[in-house]
């Protein structure tokens, strides 16, 4: 987090993340091209460019598949959370890999003085009514524009400016981009290249993303089922010791948002489960250095009142808590963000 504007909030974790990412991309593309030259050396310049197109194109597809898998993987297993930490840099790098893929495609036409053919292909309106024969490059171009939009708005400035719900909705466009990329390949190279690797790559990547989302979504559904209410409308959480020390139990208000009930020794406090940064699941985090810490990007809040420690200014809504008949209960009506509400139980 930052108290002021910084272009990139570098830290050691981000340097390591980006270094591994760049090394992996370079290794993939290098291996693809070296193997390509070894197995089937290109006969002319267009063939050499075609190899680069495929190397960068497949790399972008695998990167998109991984990016879309990180979210559900992190929900299913906390060990994947470090991948989520700097996912935005992953997305920006994916855009640049896809951009290079597109620029090599333009170069392929240019070296053959065939740029008018590319223009014709994209502007022949009648082809847009076909399925087989659809101008598949238009699908790739649209996906690239969506990736550009994601990359351009990936900075925290845009997150704060648009607000987390709008920003998250906008970045859901990545699913559309992925669908466009699948169809770009299916209606493009898969139509004339009979290698079984192409449908296997598409189906495999798509299945991985789909199955992970279905499994994670199935688990998530349980979290939205309202918890039991006491006679006066408070949510029953359970005995104090059922809340892990320096951790939380997440309860759901009827028709409302999830509430994270944290315990820090004998202190119990309830905060909104929505991190002020990206609406991450605060309740899946831990209390670190005395502060509730979001598992996604490490934003911190005091248990007492949901305020970020100075100099930061983020605040979470808090909820009244009580212990009645040995059970922790939470009033599901949120208090104003930053209102002190934590209690000490005996």
């Amino acid at each position: 987090m930052s108290a002021g504007f910084r272009a990139v909030q570098w830290n050691q974790a981000k340097f390591v993340y980006d270094a591994i990412l760049l090394a992996a991309v370079a290794l993939y593309i290098g291996t693809y091209i070296v193997l390509g030259y070894w197995l089937d050396p290109p006969k002319d310049e267009p063939a050499a460019i075609d190899m680069r197109i495929r190397a960068f194109g497949t790399c972008a597809f695998f990167m998109l598949t991984i990016i879309l898998s990180i979210g559900p993987l992190a929900r299913l297993d906390r060990r994947f959370l470090p991948l989520l930490y700097n996912r935005r840099h992953f997305g920006v790098l994916t855009f640049f890999v896809a951009l290079l893929h597109a620029s090599f495609m333009v170069e392929w036409f240019a070296v053959q003085n065939a740029l008018p053919s590319l223009y014709d292909e994209l502007t022949k309106v009648s082809d847009y009514g076909k399925f087989i024969g659809f101008p598949f490059k238009a699908l790739g171009l649209l996906a690239l524009l969506i990736l550009l939009l994601m990359a351009a708005t990936s900075h925290d400035f845009w997150l704060a400016f648009l607000t987390p719900p709008v920003w998250k909705s906008l970045h859901m466009g990545l699913y559309v981009a992925y669908g466009l990329v699948v169809m770009h390949v299916a209606l493009g190279v898969m139509q004339y290249d009979r290698s079984p690797l192409i449908p296997a790559m598409l189906a495999g990547g798509f299945l991985v993303v789909t199955v992970l989302h279905l499994v994670a979504g199935w688990r998530e559904r349980a979290g939205d089922i309202s918890d039991k209410l006491s006679d006066d409308g408070w949510l029953l959480v359970g005995p104090p010791l059922s809340i892990p020390d320096q951790g939380a139990r997440i309860v759901a208000a009827p028709g409302g948002e999830r509430i994270a009930v944290f315990r820090d020794g004998a202190r119990i406090g309830a905060l909104s489960n929505l991190c002020a940064h990206q609406n991450g699941p605060v309740g899946e985090g831990r209390i670190i250095d005395g502060c509730v810490t979001c598992p996604w990007h490490g934003y911190q809040y005091r248990l007492e009142d949901g305020c970020a420690p100075a100099p930061f200014t983020e605040k979470l809504a808090t909820y009244r808590v009580r212990v009645a008949h040995g059970m922790v209960e939470v009033d599901p009506r949120p208090l104003a963000p930053g209102t002190p509400a934590a209690i000490t139980y005996q």
Partner: protein, 47 residues
Amino acid sequence: MRRAHRSVHRALWPVLALAIAMGFVMALTLRPPPDAGAPPAAEDVNP
């Protein structure tokens, strides 16, 4: 994620996934048979 956000996600995601799956299967089954003749001229082949 907010509750409303999750609800929209749950409603739209399967529709999108189904559309892509159908599109992919159609593209796979409807693709023209491989040409046994001479390879097409370079300008007819897309990169």
